[in-house]
Symmetry: C2
Amino acid sequence: MDDERRSSSGSESRRRSGRVRRTQPFSEQHHHSTAVPPKFSQRLDRVLSARDSLVCVGLDPDPALMPKALRRLSPKVQLTRFLDGIVKATFDHAAAYKMQLGSYIQYGAEGLEVLARLPKRIGPNRIRILDMKTNDIPNTLRMVHNGVFGKMGFDAITFTPWLGWETLQPFLDDPAHGVFVVAHSSNPGALDFQEIPTPRGPLWLAVVGEVRRLAHAHGNVGVVLGATFSEAFHAARATLGNGIPMLVPGVGAQGGSLATAVREGVDAHGRALLVNASRSILYASSGGDWRKAAGAEAKRLKVQINQLRAGLRTG
Amino acid sequence: MDDERRSSSGSESRRRSGRVRRTQPFSEQHHHSTAVPPKFSQRLDRVLSARDSLVCVGLDPDPALMPKALRRLSPKVQLTRFLDGIVKATFDHAAAYKMQLGSYIQYGAEGLEVLARLPKRIGPNRIRILDMKTNDIPNTLRMVHNGVFGKMGFDAITFTPWLGWETLQPFLDDPAHGVFVVAHSSNPGALDFQEIPTPRGPLWLAVVGEVRRLAHAHGNVGVVLGATFSEAFHAARATLGNGIPMLVPGVGAQGGSLATAVREGVDAHGRALLVNASRSILYASSGGDWRKAAGAEAKRLKVQINQLRAGLRTG
């Protein structure tokens, strides 16, 4: 990964990594020392543009599906080799990586240790999202904020609003890092709470409306919207307008419609959308070609999404 | 801790630890090899009775409040010494220990490693609860279940119902381990979602009602109810009936009423309630007497709760 990180260009990435090349103009160095870091939504937009990709690779290891060649290794070595291999193979096609906390918890202490060090292995040129659907009182979420962004180096986190909007404050206070609020999940049980009727429409849509308000004020809030709930995308984007990002799980193994999520989910610039795919990329092959197969699948998804976006612009 | 664990009695604890004493009657050994493990609610009730305590000590380390003598140590050594000291000092008075995930995440990889090994350090004679307010699709929660209970050795977990009741299934499938559903939290923002009106009353009470149904069917479900929301306890216990446990944060630093939580929260047997206190016990002193002060505060809380319970029985 390090080679690829070094070879990547873009002043933003150099500024963030703190390594300024000698070839940079003085004005940019000066800019570096005084600039406020960009708001998360701006940073995400730059990465989506620079990579020309809306693909988020879900780094969710599953011991039952590991490549055959890695199965006899100790958990920590297995995890590290697998994740390094997947990141390297998909790096040209991914705008973001999302780590599902549960996938690492299942390995116990060793999995959590690998997770905590993974953002720094990926480096600052991709968006690194911790999917832990965090929710707690503000005092606790300040600790989560400090650990996930400060100690571990993630760029964004997923958040469940059950404890109320005030609990989002620790994340709103830091606009350089992103928070994706779970508005509507991809599972059938989503309807139990997320579709409760309210005066502002179904609860999930009221959540999207509040996210719009907070995103305009802070520049670092987005929503999670499951691809299986296709009928929601039109209303969600109409509510959010441009530039407020959606993170979309549930394509691939879960069967959500990629075409609807992309066509209805992107903003007027064809961006502000991250499509997460995990199993379809990570386990494209369990044979000796697992890296190559993962890279090919990430590329295939990127191209497919870009064709859907191009159809919108020209059609 | 090991000394105290060894000195503790109770056939259940011996069965769980897998160490059978030579002094045990044969019938009990035979029982050991064939018995189905007790349901979580039964096990909790046995521990509450055996300890004569409803105290749950919140093991939530805060680097800013550490005893002075530990402040210069490396994070991992500091955490381990502090937590071992607190557990040993409070062991006689605690029925349970609850670890707040955010407190460990703030330390990064090292904190998570300490957390993952902590249940085994405490041992099986106390209830060990991971407070992570987990919520995700069932496939992911199966991984969380396997890691938290299987790998790490916790006895119970907290759960946020935002993704729907089907997502509780991985926990319902394992009645030996407990799951506490967050019905009403202790923070002001709780009203945003938890007090939404529904045909079955405010949403939090509808959650309590569903927990009652599931607890009767599975024997391992309870609720989290913040002590700051005093007016909820009467209705919650009336809905739950006997034997379904409540986990109550928010006394002490957060200002909830201990008297109301105990008087209205216990069931007809004066049990089925765990009162969590963290900062008031862990940081009772930052001087050289921090262990002794923590033990004294845990004892004080145990006695105070037992006096409140005794008042109910005799009054």
